[in-house]
Each structure stands twice: as structure tokens, then as C-alpha cells.
């Protein structure tokens, strides 16, 4: 406050916004009522606000860019896709879990041997032979472990790895629709 009792700009700003304490606001109000200088300053601050609002408002060209981007449509489609993607991921994980459990329980190999593919497998094609060897190797690896809890731990780790890789891939592939 100066010698004439005029407050600084910050005090006037806070007064305009109603953010001064009751006593201080009353002091400013009674001063402004009899001080033409402060009345002019308040008017100037109001004008400044209007100028800033006008300067920062969206221009018609800027608004056109926004409308052309069709954000509501794009984003709605994206969240819908995200939901179906989550369902697909959940279904994939369930399938993976079932497959892992079946493999660990020794259900896969006998099933393959009794299936119509068995003849093809016996014919010596390298793909089923390799798959069969891999399956046997994984089973022997898991069953030979002394701790039975590892039988559960390995598929869980594998599922976790799949989830992490899936998310990393999605993150990398999420390209901006506005950058070309």
C-alpha cells in the first residue's frame, strides 16, 4: 500500500477475485470507492482480462482442425477396440494356461499319439518330431525338478512373459493418428 493508501496490483487482483480476507477486502473496497486512480486501475485490469481471453480463444481455423480430426469418433472406436482386445487377451491367456496345464500333466503327448496325426508323426516328418522332442524335453525338465511348486511357477512365468511382451508390442505399435 502506498502513501495514498492504494494497494498494489496483486491486492487489487485478489480483491477482484474475492480472495482477500473480509477485513482487507472491506478496506480495499472503501478505498476504491473514493480513489479515481484505483477505480481506473480496476477497469484496466478488467480490460486486460478481456484482451487475454480474446487473444487465447480458439480461432475458426484452429476449431476447424479440431473438428476435422473427429476425436469423438476416433477415441470411441479406440476404447471399443481396447475392450475387445482385452477380451481377446484374456481368452488367449486362459487358453495358454489350459495348454500349459495339459502339457504338464502329460495329456498332450498321448493325445497326439492317439490322434490321426500319429501316422504322420511316425512317418518321420521333422516338425512333429521336433515338437514331440521339445515336449518330452520340457516335461523331463519340469518333472525332474525336486520342488513340485516349480511345475506351477514355470507356466505362470511364461504367461507373465507373454503379457509383458504383448504390452510392449502394443505400446510400440500405438502410432499417433495425427503424425504422418
Amino acid at each position: 500500500m502506498d502513501a495514498n493508501g492504494c494497494g498494489d496490483d496483486l491486492t487489487l487482483d485478489l480483491f477482484r477475485m474475492g480472495l482477500l480476507g473480509e477485513a482487507e477486502a472491506e478496506a480495499v473496497r472503501s478505498h476504491v470507492q473514493k480513489c479515481p486512480t484505483c477505480q481506473a486501475r480496476l477497469g484496466a485490469l478488467d480490460l486486460e482480462d478481456l484482451r487475454l481471453e480474446a487473444a487465447l480463444a480458439l480461432t475458426p481455423e484452429e476449431a476447424d482442425v479440431l473438428m476435422a480430426a473427429d476425436l469423438p469418433g476416433r477415441l470411441a472406436a479406440q476404447v471399443s477396440g481396447g475392450r475387445s482386445g482385452a477380451w481377446a487377451l484374456a481368452a488367449g491367456l486362459v487358453g495358454l494356461g489350459v495348454a500349459a496345464a495339459a502339457g504338464l500333466q502329460g495329456a498332450v503327448l498321448p493325445w497326439l499319439q492317439s490322434s490321426p496325426m500319429a501316422g504322420w508323426m511316425r512317418a518321420g516328418h521333422w516338425v512333429p518330431q521336433l515338437a514331440s522332442r521339445l515336449l518330452r524335453w520340457v516335461r523331463s525338465l519340469l518333472w525332474s525338478r525336486p520342488e513340485p511348486q516349480l511345475d506351477v511357477l514355470f507356466p505362470l512365468l511364461a504367461a507373465g512373459l507373454v503379457i509383458i511382451l504383448f504390452n510392449l508390442r502394443r505400446r510400440r505399435r500405438r502410432l499417433s493418428p495425427f503424425h504422418h
Binding site: D9, L10, D13, L14, M17, L19, R41, G43, A44, L45, D46, L47, E48, D49, R51, L52, E53, A54, A55, L56, A57, L58, E62, A63, V65, L66, A69, L71, P72, G73, R74, L75, A76, A77, Q78, V79, S80, R83, S176, P177, F178, H179
Partner: protein
């Protein structure tokens, strides 16, 4: 249908309700991002990302609270991260340094901003240190009250007032400098 009902439906996974919310608030979020970054493409990307983040966090949103400041808070945080990552602007000036800046004598409030055109004012706003630019944009573009800005930026109400006051002081100073730099002796004044 009210905004609160759209929010409730969007919380339940209704994409159409989410689209309605985007339609309702896209101009505010886009404007904030545009004034913060100064680039239309970046602003569109950030607007898009702000709405997606809002959607992901919508389940935890309390519908009795105002939605707009919450959404603008997400957008403002994204803009800050974006600017920090790109280092497009000088590091924020400390408040203590800004407080010591003198008011230019020939620029009483209102007169300088009134004399300048929109482009000059925008340029001056774009050159403000980040916290001031955010506060100015939220107040003068998004029309948030001091209280709402305080909640959106998680700073005290008094700090909002101080930021705006100092921001306007800097704006006046920069606009005076621009006026001096573009002044021509023919009497044409400013460009």
C-alpha cells in the same frame, strides 16, 4: 442427458457416452494443449492421449466432483511431460527470480495488452515460464476459477493468484519490449 449421466455410462464402458464427453470437452482440452505446446499436431495428440487416460481412470472418478478441472489436470500434466521431454522451452524461472523483476514504468495494467494484437499476446503467453503459462491458459482460456486451478494443479489458491499476477507482469514487460523492437520512426507505431 446431463454430463454426470454421460460419465456414469462411460464408467460402465459405454463408448458412445465417452464420445459424448469428448465432444463436450474437446475444445477446452485441445485449446489448453495448443496454447501450452504451440503446435497443432502435438496438441491433437495430447488431447487424444488426455481423453484416453481419463477413460482409463474414469472408474475411480467421483461423479459428485466437477469433471472439467479433473480432465484439464490430466491434460496439463501431459503437456508438462511433453514439454519436458522435448525441452522446447527454457527451464522454468524460479518464483524468487520472477518476484524480483521490476514492473516496467510505462506499462500500467491494461494499456499495453490493449495496444497489442492477438498474435503478439499469444507469442508473449507462449514464452511465459511453464507454470505461469499453464495458470494463464487455465484461467483465461478455460475460464477456471482460482479455486478450480488450485485443485487442478494441486497448488494453494494464493499461489494461483501470485502466478497470474506475475505472469501478467511478465506479459506487460515482454509486450513493451516487442513494441520497442518493432517501433518505426515514421509514426506508424507497432506492427
Amino acid at each position: 442427458m446431463t454430463e454426470r449421466e454421460w460419465i456414469r455410462r462411460a464408467q460402465g464402458g459405454d463408448a458412445e457416452a465417452f464420445a459424448a464427453l469428448v465432444r463436450l470437452h474437446q475444445a477446452g482440452v485441445y485449446g489448453l494443449c495448443l496454447r501450452m505446446t504451440g503446435r497443432r499436431e502435438d496438441a491433437l495428440d495430447l488431447t487424444s492421449e488426455a481423453f484416453l487416460r481419463a477413460y482409463r481412470s474414469l472408474a475411480g472418478f467421483d461423479v459428485t466432483q466437477p469433471f472439467r478441472p479433473w480432465l484439464l489436470r490430466i491434460a496439463a500434466n501431459l503437456c508438462r511431460d511433453h514439454l519436458r521431454a522435448r525441452q522446447q522451452h527454457p527451464a522454468p524461472v524460479e518464483d524468487a527470480v520472477l518476484a524480483d523483476l521490476p514492473d516496467p514504468a510505462p506499462s500500467p495494467p491494461g494499456q499495453v495488452l490493449a495496444a497489442h494484437d492477438r498474435a503478439a499476446v499469444r507469442q508473449a503467453v507462449a514464452e511465459l515460464p511453464e507454470p505461469y503459462r499453464t495458470t494463464v491458459t487455465l484461467h483465461y482460456f478455460n475460464q477456471l476459477s482460482y479455486q478450480e486451478i488450485s485443485e487442478a494443479l494441486n497448488i494453494p489458491v494464493g499461489t494461483v493468484g501470485t502466478h497470474l499476477y506475475r505472469a501478467k507482469r511478465l506479459l506487460r514487460q515482454r509486450l513493451v519490449e516487442q513494441e520497442v523492437a518493432t517501433w518505426t520512426p515514421t509514426g506508424a507505431g507497432t506492427t
